[in-house]
Each structure stands twice: as C-alpha cells, then as structure tokens.
C-alpha cells in the first residue's frame, strides 16, 4: 500500500490532519507574524479561548457549540458545523452500529436540560477584602453563575451527566479571575495568601479525574484562576530550538503559532484542541507522537511556577542537570496543588517534511500486541502506533462517511473480501494497528517498510492509509460521540493505564471481563461496550486505553452504577500489574489508591513538599493527596 500512494496525496492528507487536529478554524484577527518577546498586556489576545468560554463552547458537553453529532430525521447520523473533516457529513452506518452495540434506539431520547438553571447554582460567597484589593490590580474577574459553573467541572462522566440533568451544584467557585501574565498571577497569589482565599488553577478544563471539582468542605472563598488569557509565545530561540510560552496557551494555538514560524512541539495529546500547556505540566501529559518528540516531561526545559512561598524556577536552561532530585518533577503531576505554572520553556522541532498514515490488520489482538512489542524492542516505533481491538475497529468503521462513488464502494468490498475470505481473518477477531510516520520522505518510506516487514512476521496485512487516519479521527471525536450517546441513554467514559509488556494481554482481557461481570451484577440490562487499544509503546511496556459504555435504560442511578464499575475496573487494573494512571492523573477520582501505588512513605514525601510550599493550603483543590 505504501507503493500505491504518491507523495502529493500523502502531503494532502498530512495537511488535512494538521487541519483537523491543530488547525485553528476561526478567522484570525490580524496576522502580525513576528514572534517577539511581548510585554504583559502589550498586545491583543490572539487565543482561541475567550474569557466567556460559553460563547463558543458547550456548557454541558464537549467542545464547540456548533459541532455535535445528531441523528437526523432519516435516522442517519451527521456531524454538524464546519470545523472538522467529518463536519457536515452523513455517517450512514453509525445508527446501526449504535443500536446494535448498545441495544439503544434513536426513538428513545434522553435530552439534556437546554440551559443552565441559575437558581441551582449556590450564591457566590465572596471575600470582600480580597475583591477590593483585586480591583486595584485591574485584573478582570467575574462572579456570574455561568462563568463559575463552567469552571466547576472537568469532563468526567458524572460531571457532564449532572450538568445535563440540571442537578443542583454542591460547591462551585465563588469567582473567576483572568490573569494576563505571570505578574498578574504573582499578584493574585499574594492577595490570596493575604486574605486566605482558596485558589484553583483552571487551564483547558479537560480534566477527567475530578481535579477541577471544588471540595465541598471548603469554606473559604474559592477563586478559579483561569489561565486562558496567558496564551502568548514570548520568544522562540532557533539556535537551541526552544520556545518560551505562557502556560495558558492551548494546544491548537501553540501548534498553529509555532507552525507559522515553521516549527512544532509535536506534543499532541488527544485533548490538544482544548487542553493547555500548564495543564499538561500539571498532569504529566502524554502526546500521541511521543515516540518522536517525547512526553511532556521530556519536552520541558524550564518551568516557572508561582506558589504561596514565591516563584520556583531554575537558574539556567541546561538540557540536563545533576543538581539533586529534579525540582521539575515536583511540579510535573502536581495537579494544581502547589501553585500555578505560568511560563514554560519547551523544545520545538521544525515541522516534519513528510507525514504518512498507515494501518495493518492482524488476525487477532494477540498477534497485534506481539507485533507492537517487537516494534518497541527494535526501537523502530513510528511517531504513533496504536493497536485497536476488534470492537474499536468496528466502532471506527461505523464512522465512515457516505461513499460517493460506486467505485470506492467496490474497492472497499474487494478489500474486505481479500482480508476476511481470502486471508481467512475472522471479522469478529481481527484488529487494526494505526500508524503515523513523520520525517523526511525517504526515511519515512524506509521506516514504513521496516515496520510493515515486522508486522508481516506476525501475520499483519497492510490495510491502507485511510483506515489509519480514521483510527485517529475516532480519538478526536470520541468526546463528541459521548454527548450523542448521552442523548440516547448511553453513558460512556474512557480510562487508561500503563503496564509491562508481558501483562498487556492478560490485563486487557481481565479488565474487559471484570467490566462485563460488574455490569451484569449491578443490573445493567444491556451488554456493555468494552474496548481497548494499546495506544503508546515503551521499551518496557505499553499504555492501554479503555472505552467503556453502556445503555442505562432501567437503571435508577446510572452514574453511580457507572462509578462502581469504573472503580472495580481500576482495581482489576492494579491487580493485573497496571499503573494508577499513565497520563490522565489522579485528581480526586483515584486518590484512594495513592498509598497503595507509591507507598505511604511516598505519599508522606509529597505531603511534606506540599506542607512546605503551601502551608495554608491556598491551592486547595485537594487533588492527589
């Protein structure tokens, strides 16, 4: 298949992909391209995210307000808006897949509450002295219900479900502030300490660990510190290939702005459309192309953090240091408990000359995992390599847009015939690995051949670029699809872990089985969807990502049932040698397992850092510990 695609086609696809993921789809205001050191408040805000997020984003679901899946009058699924490759397309197989997989029906709707009921929001309890002092700084703030509620949650199932149901909120931030630069943050933190106000940093709001939830027992005034306006690239250093960036910048803006200068970070977590640089640092994020570019801890060179005790930063930008334990590692993964990350210096790379998707089908999951393991062993993993199980493969197929030409239809049919009939792959067993190669053209093609050769020894068959690309689309629209599911009595969530190679298969099988069993025991009437993919490879193991969804008709408290099942699934993961989290973090959702995960001594070490840096618990989101 590598042979039947010409370079311009690949280039086109590469461009398309950049558009999907990183592409900024709003009109740009003014295009002054020079990337120069900027003064605080010196220039107009160029970021995608406005202060009033609800103006462009859903208040009770994922992503942009104009983009959503729905079943039209014919029962066909379509994706609205103009922002994505799937936008405006009809997806004829989605309805069948949806109804068959979940036992759901497009006739059984469970619509969301259309607007926020302001009376369900507890009134703001303001610290007047703090507000007075804050006013003198000129930093914008708000205590409107919409602003506060938007920052009271991340994207856990129970959070979104509660918003949709119009449930009463127990605790939301009392006000929101929008610092514009590092110095603003310093002022805010000083005032917070002075007036004993609780600060909760808020970046992209894409947390899935209950990290943004306000602790209900918090009696102080809670201020949500929204970093979205701190979104500039302050300078680019082409000699050392690093950029100094304000931490509130979201992934798509960072990538777009760097692209304008011919660079990229290569850090592409699935949430990159909305998640922020500071958030990545605070949760130890991982991007899908980490094989080339590294995870966030490999990418950052320097971090500036404002804490109640002052500002933490290093004195130089040496690429590696032996100066005791790396203080960056107290910050990376601190989940907003120590301070606010304001500025980050991170590595950049020239935009790759050439990008190419690919895919390989394997007769079964075992063969696929063996192949990925071998690829990791030979250290020849492409920028991204993911192995989707059969369920996810079928899910991906359900997202195929309407095919316009009979010819494509025919070719697809032939391919299917070749794989299932001629090669004897069982359509209910086969799995697909999706690949993304990056680099200069020659090397990509060479690399591609190497990977396909390894795949062949495990019975893998090359299955085209299109299948590969579709696999990646799924991860970017999955959160939109969850909203669609919730419109029809289906709840869904994802969770992840990392696990040594030799336990991957056992873990996947046992976790799926555990979920199925727990669902049955808890009265879920329909067979749940459990699907997983090996989504990252490392020398010593892999990251495994699970999707889990079920039709909740007939359940009194679906969210509670869901939470019990997820809890059981996490226990199963831990019992099978998986970690508590690979990149989502701990938040409040997984706090209970911290001791077991890092030992009570380890928890004590972290606690003593917290006690030193933030003795009054100003950063009181109570994550992690």
């Amino acid at each position: 298949m590598a042979s039947n695609s010409n370079s311009s086609e690949s280039q086109r696809i590469a461009q398309q992909r950049l558009r999907i993921i990183a592409g900024h789809l709003q009109k740009q205001k003014d295009d002054d391209s020079g990337i120069i050191a900027t003064e605080c408040k010196a220039e107009a805000n160029k970021g995608t995210v406005p202060r009033k997020r609800q103006e462009i984003m859903k208040w009770n679901g994922w992503g942009y307000s104009d983009s959503k899946f729905l079943f039209n009058k014919k029962g066909h699924a379509e994706f609205t808006g103009k922002r994505y490759r799937l936008s405006g397309m009809v997806l004829p197989s989605l309805q069948d897949w949806f109804e068959n997989t979940f036992g759901a029906s497009v006739n059984h709707k469970s619509p969301a509450t259309p607007t926020l009921n302001a009376s369900a929001v507890p009134p703001a309890s303001l610290n007047e002295a703090f507000v007075e002092d804050l006013k003198t700084t000129g930093i914008p703030f708000s205590h409107e219900a919409e602003d506060r509620v938007f920052r009271a949650h991340g994207h856990c199932l129970h959070e979104i479900f509660a918003l949709r149901e119009g449930k009463k909120f127990e605790r939301v931030p009392d006000m929101v502030v929008w610092p514009n630069c590092h110095n603003d943050v310093v002022k805010i933190v000083e005032l917070a300490c002075k007036h004993n106000v609780c600060l909760i940093p808020y970046g992209g709001g894409t947390s899935v660990t209950s990290a943004l939830e306000c602790p209900p027992e918090e009696t102080r005034c809670i201020v949500s510190l929204d970093t979205s306006q701190m979104n500039r690239i302050l300078w680019i250093d082409e000699k050392n290939l690093v950029a100094h960036v304000e931490a509130g910048i979201i992934g798509q803006d960072l990538e777009r702005l760097l692209n304008e200068s011919g660079y990229c970070t290569g850090h592409e977590p699935d949430s990159m459309e909305f998640s922020s640089l500071g958030g990545w640092v605070a949760t130890r994020a991982s991007g899908m192309k980490k094989n080339v570019y590294g995870n966030i801890e490999d990418l950052v060179i320097h971090i500036k953090v404002v804490t109640p005790r002052g500002v933490i930063e290093k004195s130089c930008q040496g690429p590696r240091m032996s100066t005791g334990p790396d203080i960056h590692h107290f910050i990376l993964g601190s989940e907003g408990t120590l301070g606010v990350v304001t500025e980050v210096t991170m590595k950049i790379r020239p935009i790759p000359e050439y990008q190419k998707y690919g895919s390989v089908v394997f007769p079964n999951f075992e063969a696929g995992v063996a192949c990925l393991r071998e690829v990791a062993k030979q250290r020849c993993a492409p920028a991204s390599i993911r192995l989707m199980d059969n369920e996810q493969f079928q899910f991906g197929h359900a997202l195929k847009p309407q095919v316009s030409s009979i010819f494509t239809n025919f070719v697809e049919g032939l391919k299917k015939f070749y794989i299932t009939k001629f090669k004897g792959f069982d359509p209910h067993q086969l799995v697909v690995a999706t690949l993304l190669f990056e680099g200069d053209r020659e090397r990509v093609l060479q690399h591609e051949k190497q990977v396909y050769d390894i795949a062949a020894t495990f019975g893998g068959l090359a299955a085209g670029e299109d299948n590969g690309q579709r696999g990646y689309i799924l991860t970017f629209v999955i959160a939109y699809l969850r909203d669609l599911g919730m419109d029809y009595y289906v709840v869904a969530e994802s969770f992840e872990t990392s696990v040594p190679w030799d336990r991957v298969l056992d873990l996947c099988r046992n976790v799926k089985e555990r979920i199925n069993r727990e669902c049955k025991e808890r009265g879920v009437q329909f067979q749940p969807l459990t699907s997983c993919r090996v989504t990252q490879t490392y020398d010593a193991g892999a990251c495994v990502y699970f999707y889990f969804a079920f039709n909740y008709r007939g359940l009194a408290d679906p969210v509670h049932t869901y939470e019990q099942v997820e809890h059981a699934a996490r226990e199963e993961i831990l019992a099978n040698g998986g970690s508590l989290s690979h990149h989502h973090g701990v938040g409040k959702l997984r706090k209970e397992w911290m001791k077991e995960s890092i030992s009570s001594l380890g928890v004590g070490m972290l606690q003593s850092v917290k006690d030193y840096v933030d003795p009054d618990n100003i950063f009181g989101n109570r994550n992690l510990l």
Binding site: D502, R503, L507, N510, E513, R514, A575, N576, G577, E596
Partner: protein, 666 residues
Amino acid sequence: MASKTLYSQRDPMLKRDGFEDILEERRNSSDLKYALRCYAPVLYKGVTPCKANMLKNIVLQSDQLHYVINQVSQESGEAPDIIQEEASVILEEMAHRLQISTVRFFAFALSKAFKTLFQHVCVNEEGIQRLQQAIQEHPVVLLPSHRSYMDFLLMSYILYTYDLALPVIAAGMDFMGMKFVGEMLRMSGAFFIRRSFGGDKLYWAVFSEYVKTMLRNGFAPIEFFLEGTRSRTCKSLTPKLGLLNIVIEPFFKGEVFDVNLVPVSISYERILEESLYARELLGVPKPKESTSGLLKARRILSEDYGSIHVYFGQPVSVRSLAQGKVNRSKYNLFPRHIPRKPMEETQSFVNDTAYRIVRLQEDNMVLKPWVLMASLLLQNLEGLELSVLTEQTLWLRGLALSYAAFLDWPDHAPTAKVVSSSLALHRGLACVSGGRVSLVVGEPLGPVTPEEALFNRAVSVLSCASYRNQVLHVFLRPAMLAVAMHTAASSRKNEVYNCFSFLWDVFSNDFILCPGDTVQDFEEACYLLVKTGAVQMPQQDIEMTDRGQPILSFFNGLLEPFLQGYQVVCRYLCEEASEGLTEKQYIPAVRSFAVKLILAGNLRCYEVLSSDMQKNALAALLRMDAVRKVKVADQVTLIVNKMAVNSIDDILGGKLPTQKAVLARL
C-alpha cells in the same frame, strides 16, 4: 459473598438437587451405540481442542520451563540441551494422550461393568448443567472425593455421558506399574505424577507448567483429588495443597480471569475395596497395583454394590473467594515466569480454600440408612435387638436430618423394611440371628490364635467404622461439644469452650476442621444442640436438658473410639516407648501395645489398631510439640516430651481440666 455462599451450603434449609439414574438408559439401549455416538462437547470460550503433542510443545517452549532449565543447568554444569532433553523425558512420562477411541472403549466396557456391579449410578443433572455453563466461562477444576479406584473412571464416564469436555486427571505414578492398564488410562486422559519429588526443581517445573498450560488455555477441565489418595476410612482426608496451589496461581498472576473449583461428592453405598482397606489399615500392606491383581478382582463382579451417587457441587469461584484475602498486586513486582514459593497470604488462602472444598464435598455426600445403623452397631458391639436397632435408626434419622445430613432414605418404605434391606446388602458385615443384630466376624479355617481372632474382629469393626465415618461430618461439631461438656465437668460456657477448643485442636488431623474456625465451629455446635433441644444455654452456661440425654450420650459414644485411641497412643509413648523410637517402628509398636491391652481385657476399642488413627494421633502430638522428630543418620527418631503427652492423655480422659496454662505449656 463467596464465603457466605460456602457457609449457606451448610444451611439446614438448603435445597439440594435431585438425582437421575444414568444406568437406566444403559439398561434399555445399546451400549455399543452409546459408545460410538457423536461426542461434541462445548469447550472453554470455544477454544479448539489441543492435540496432546501440541500441548507438550507449548510446555517445553514455555518461558517458565526455560528459566528453570537454565537455572538447573547453571547449578549442575550440565548443558541446557541435556536438561531440556530430560524435561522432555519427564513430560513424556507424565503427559496424557487422550484419545476418543479409548474413551469409547471405556464407555462400552464400563457400561457393562457398572450394570453388573451397581443398581444405580445417580447424578444430579442440575449440577451437570452448572458445570457445562462453568466450562464455557472459566477454566474448571474438578475436585472429586476419593474413596475408590473407580472414582476417576466414573467421573470421565459421566462427563462422556453428558457430552461434557473430558477432564485430564492427575493420577499417581503407581498406576503406571500396571503396564497395559496404565497406558489405557493415559489414553483416557490420565497424566501421571510421581508420588514425591520434593527437591526436584525440574520435575516440579515441568509438572506445574504442564498443568497450568492446560488450565490457562482451557483445553480441558483439570481433575485431581484434593485428598491426595483414596481415603481408606471413608473419612475425608486432610487436603494436600500442591496441585491446588498450581491451579490457583494463574488466577493470582492474572493469567486467567477466574478459576472455578467444582467439588464433586462421590458416595458409594458399598465400596469395592471395603475389606481390603480394613486389612490395609491393620498393617497388611496394600497389594501393589498390577494388572493380574485387577483381573483377580473380577470376582468382585459377582457381588451387589448397591448404588453410587455423584453430586456435582456449585462451582466455587476462586476470584470471589480471594476477594479481600489476597492482594494480587503483590505479584506485580516479580516476573511471572520465575517460580516462587507462594506468599504466606496465598498459602493460607489456598489452605483455607482446600478445607472449604473438602467440607463442600462432605456436605453433598449421600448417606444411606446403613451408615446410621453402622454408627449404632459400633456403639453396641455385643449386638442389638433388631427391633431396638430399627427404632434407634429411625431416631437417628430424625437427628441426622435436623443436622442437614444428605440422607437417601427410601420414600414410603417402612423403617423395618429399610433396615432389613440394608442388612441384606451388607450381609458381609452384619447378620441377624435370633432377632439380634451383630457384626459378622470372618471365620478363618483351622485353629485360631487369640491374635488372629482379634485381627478378624478388628477387620469387621474397621469395615463397619468406615460406614460410621461417613456420617461423622454431620455430627462432628455437636459431638465434640458433647464430649467437651462431658470432660469439662462444668457448665460454664468458657470452660466448655476451652475443652472444645482443645479437642478441636487435637483432632484436627482426623477430621476436616478449617483452620481458624474454632469459634465458628463452637457456635455452630451450640446452635445445633440447642436447636435439637439437647442443651439450653442460659447466660454463660451450657446445660444438658432432659431430652438431651440420649443425644449427648450417642455423641459421646460416637467419638469414644477416637478419644480412647489417642489415649492409648499417649499411654504407649509415656509408658512403653523406648528411647530412640524411630518413626518406622512407631506404628507396629503402638499396634502390638494395643493388641496386648485388648488381649489382657484392658481395652475394648479396636479402632486404635488402625494405622490411620495412629498416624493422625502422632501428627497431632507433633503439631502440639509433645513429640519431636529428630533425624539421626538415616533414621527419624521420635523424642517424646512425656509430661506434655501425659497431660494430653489426662485431659482426653477427663482427669485434668483444660486450662489455658496447660495449653500454653504444650
């Protein structure tokens, strides 16, 4: 949860499944057709069956085995190839070669044999359905009770009959002595393990990997006998843990989602090996398994052995059993292919599980009226009026039923008829003459020495005891309480408990008492005795009621042989045992000591002649540190702490109160 389900099995209100006689169809249709019929069992998650050779290859190529091969090679200096070859030879010797044609042969031959030997072979079909379900969902381990050589042929026969996956069966190497039969068994699914291979790393690795491979892949249900060997006394034996450890480990290591343990209770109305066992217990060595021996056993075919009941218990999920008891993540930090001694937590879990499974086997053992009659006859060795026996059997039936015994009592038959037909079936053991029922004592030809007479009498007592033993598990706990009340000579609950706990401890080699369950067993005993109105428990006391007298005295009589037997052993060790008594000499020495006592008229208990009881008593004394084993040269010598043994003797005899202090000193 799971432990609850285990406990509720003992609930008297428990509804047990009904039985179907599988011989009935055999008597009405062609055995040949049956043996040749289409056999297509469902397998675990629809796996394709694995050929025996392929299985061997998987084992020989496993990381687990390679690791040990390299280790052994490094230790011995031998090349890995040679060790690998050795492993392959071991596997060859061990592995089964299940062949459907052999199975069909057995299906045919056993149909014929069963029809001659037995009236009925009854199976609970609901259990079969549960098993069929379980086989599809999880790897299954079949754990039948072991009373007879018949057991595993019978199991495979039943599974074949119901179109279920045929098990692979762990069998002792001694079968291999019977050349032809051994190979036949191998081809019907048996795999052979040496009786002892303690130190042999390679053997252990091959063996455990072989079993685990079959289990992990779900190729076939694994079957083995928790008791390790046939129980010669019909009491359940203390479970052996080796194989259970092996089949449970894949669950702890996450290699399988769950493992289902299926206890199977096989109850024989008459055991083929009945008098053979009694002789064996009395020191006539067991005949070495040989084909000619088996052929001689053909005369067995002319006798009536009543019915067999096979009860497939509720599958027990290892996963739910282990919930909250074993932290599986402790296995995370060690490569799974490197063999390791099980952790303490795991060991005690496996031990606990083994005991619970054996208790489940006991609970579903079907008891025949004769079992009750044997219990009564043994308490009246001089004989009983038939009418009295009938009346007491009826009384005992009521008691047994209220203690949830699984009694197979003929419907709508007058008790007298039940009693007489039981006597007829067991005419080799008891006879009626002049309206009195007494044990039959075999009359040897020619002149008889007093020892020979005693020996003959002991054979009939021990044979009879093997029937009484079948009901012991029903009465054991209340009976121990009855004895405790008797020996404590106090009605204070705590004193009775002390005594109970002492007995519990002493007898835990003879009976299946789950480790750590003393308090629970005591409470169960109290509950049962109160329930049947034998005792009342005002405040801190336990008192016998007027109605309770016959019950308590029956219970005291039931355990009397054990109390006496242990006392004889204690007395022997205190009074007679010479310095430097070796372990080998112990059994014959105790036996001749007891013979002397009986001949002198100082002892009326014959059961102490049983090597089983002697071994258990010694094990108890060793456990309680009253006797120590010392290895001198090649001999194992027993060092007796006479004071400790003496005080155990005294407590058993009710001469010394059970005090915490005494126990502590022991």
